[in-house]
Amino acid sequence: MAAALNIQKGTSKHSAYDLRDPNAEAVERHTLAVIVDNEAGVLARVIGLFSGRGYNIDSLTVAEVDHEGHRSRITIVTTGTPAVIDQIKAQLGRIVPVHEVHDLTVEGPSVERELALFKVVSGGDKRVEALRLADIFRANVVDSTLESFVFEITGTPQKVDAFGELMRPLGLTEMARTGIAALSRGS
């Protein structure tokens, strides 16, 4: 019964908080749709959950989607191991004004779109090239001066990223992105 004493007196390497599972699995990216009562503080509850428990938020959008029922839809893109993603969903489900939590990443195919505005300030060939690329990407010009354009683009985050990269050498000065809105495909 008496084996060697494994802990050393006078050392502090044994912390009570060093208990994490070393067998962590691969990190996944999930898009969650959370239907909530549109009441004061509900967004703070959701964000507070993520910050308080150390979860990631890659993207977050929120708006009222049912004016009569006062329901809002929060779309959150998060990353974590499968265990963490499950825990995030369970924790979201525990919040009293949360009605539904959908994991669009596992519930079947879904559509993800993002809207972005890019301000490009340039002249000469660069200005022409920017306009030509905007046409290829089906971006709209929503503001123009003799020195600048503001492009509006809608698409997947990857498409928006790609357009942004192309605009960078062509005089990109500012951008604004909405974050992802997502819905499951089909009925």
Binding site: A2, I7, H14, A16, R20, P22, G41, Q87, A90, V96
Partner: protein, 584 residues
Amino acid sequence: MTQMTGAKMVVQALKDQGVEVVFGYPGGAVLPIYDEIFQQTEIRHILVRHEQAAVHAAEGYARSTGKPGVVLVTSGPGATNAVTGITDALMDSIPLVVLTGQVPTFMVGNDAFQEADTVGITRPCTKHNWLVKDTDALADTIHQAFHVATSGRPGPVLVDIPKDVQFAEGTYVEPRAAKTGHYQPKVKGDKEMITRLVEAMETAERPIFYTGGGVINSGDAATQLLREFVDATGFPITSTLMGLGSYPASGKGWLGMLGMHGLYEANLAMHDCDLMINIGARFDDRITGRVADFSPHSRKAHIDIDPSSINKTIRVEMPIVGDVAHVLEDALRIWKSRGRKVNKAALAEWWAQIEEWRKVECLRYRNSDKIIKPQYALQRLEALTKDRKDRYICTEVGQHQMWAAQFLGFEAPNRWMTSGGLGTMGYGFPASIGVQIAHPDALVINVAGEGSWLMNMQEMGTAVQYSLPVKQFILNNERLGMVRQWQSLLHGNRYSHSWSEALPDFVKLAEAFGAKGIQCSDPADLDDAIAEMLAHDGPVIFDCLVEKHENCYPMIPSGEPHHKMLLGEDTGEDAIKAGGAVLV
């Protein structure tokens, strides 16, 4: 459609919710509500001496009765002082409704006098909270608050009420008209999964029930069903700190508490079992030790009403989301209908193994006839009070708390009030006040350390004002014992700030408050001194001077698995110098 002021509505809503007692402290932003309390007699208000104590007292009330505790405090500092108690209740799943005053709506956000963002501050430490800006919504919100606090996994909720909302007139709604529809946690467990659990129980060779506070929160039916199930199957049962009393300490299946300072046989059985049935416990880190090595050979079932508790730290094969009483009822019925099968031969071997572990006598300590050992003090307290059916024990936090859990036996639920999850020093004394308010004729003892006890000692005023005969049993080692123990084990005996150089004379302190003080330092006098404490009809501070350097064993060193427990081979200062803690 009854019209009344917001303040009157608060009192009416509390009456309609069946509230008998409110723990609170007045202030500017709640004066209209206090004025209404003054003009009625149905609801009793207990004036504490600090808002934190109001919350702990309400916790003690709630835990000893199964009913929600109610707290009323003012804005700003009233609310912020309550935060520790609210967090404590959240961690231990205690139903509380906390009502806070707030500056008038037109001053909110102006940094007004005694303004704090109460709903912002308490959002992470409540189950839910509300700021009521309209008197018409006030009654409905309070009814919802009671519903949320007591449904599903219980917890504290807070309703913040601006002063102008208290003064304004509005329409009162009764509890049954309140909008509580969408918050209806699932109570029935999945039948297929319950059947899988029953199948596993029929063949298990080394099963164990591992139960927690969820059994007690579920109510008396859960306790009865658990006892029936344990006794009918003959399986061993252990419990967390929170769950003590749901299965009687005198029961034949009882292994004692598990966890960091749990019993050797309980922890070894958890490590070696082949079927672990977790009922209303949450695989807390004080229970699991090193997660990677936690009970490596077992199939695990987990019954919990909170889906987020399942698979949070320990992956389980049989997750069952539901209320303990409902799930146990189904499980017991299915097990009976399938012929009450257990693996008798294997169980006999399993119990023989457990008996071997018991022979270690893990709670053994070296007694003394010169100085009172804390364990001895608790053994005597147990011997002299265990026949009292109406005995309620509270504790503070630290070594004394663990010794109390080890050496006191609980035969019934709701008799043991201790701060488990948050580990709040200063919890026990106000909790004992709440318990005594709920059970005026009962024997209520707070087992304390002098360090914890001093954190809320101002409540002597409350105890004396309401003639509450709470017994403050202080194991005084002039040390922050658990801190000192960790410094001894892990920090080279460098006792950084873990002792008090200026402790009060507790007997004089009791007398200063108008209470009785008793001091005892000789083991030979202990029984008489305890008898004197028990015989006194009024609050008592019992200053029990104990061995200063006793360590609490057994102990799973943090970061180690269950089977690497330290046993106190020897105790006292010499033992520590000699490295008297051995690994088994």
